[in-house]
Assembly symmetry: C2
Homo-oligomer: 87 residues x 2
């Protein structure tokens, strides 16, 4: 499901409900960024910057690629940085 919900190339013809779910989820992230950040006029770039970072951590940790270059204990630190670095 994780792989599918972000595969908008595959969802073009068959997955309208999943696409309809993704956009409101992103809008809720934009709203959270606007609350949390001093530069809220930039939220349309800050939100995808945060989301792409979190997505990369999710993919590379689930694929066990991060284990090659660090400890599993680093993952919460990476998540915290992926958010705070763009606020």
């Amino acid at each position: 499901m994780f792989e599918l919900m972000f595969h908008h190339d595959l969802l073009d013809g068959a997955g309208a409900n999943l696409r309809a779910t993704t956009v409101p989820l992103f809008e809720s992230l934009v709203a959270l960024v606007e609350q949390a950040s001093d530069r809220s006029d930039d939220s349309r770039m800050q939100a995808p910057a945060i989301q792409t970072g979190r997505h990369g951590i999710a993919v590379l940790s689930s694929n066990r690629a991060l284990e090659l270059v660090g400890s599993r204990r680093d993952i919460p630190v990476l998540v915290e940085r992926a958010v705070s670095a763009h606020l």
Copy 2:
């Protein structure tokens, strides 16, 4: 190849050469971070923070997920931020 080279869960039994390629690539990123950053004692966390961000952009742009929430012209800005935010 992009999918495979980061799938270390799949590569465990068959892909030693790909794994041997990944680690030196990561080490070269660590070295670049040490050159570019003022806080070089943190490069072992900065480098994966940068790489996970770039990976997320690559995955979500190739899957056309980013098109739902922005313009393709945003992608170079996201890449620049994914690097500079962690230096």
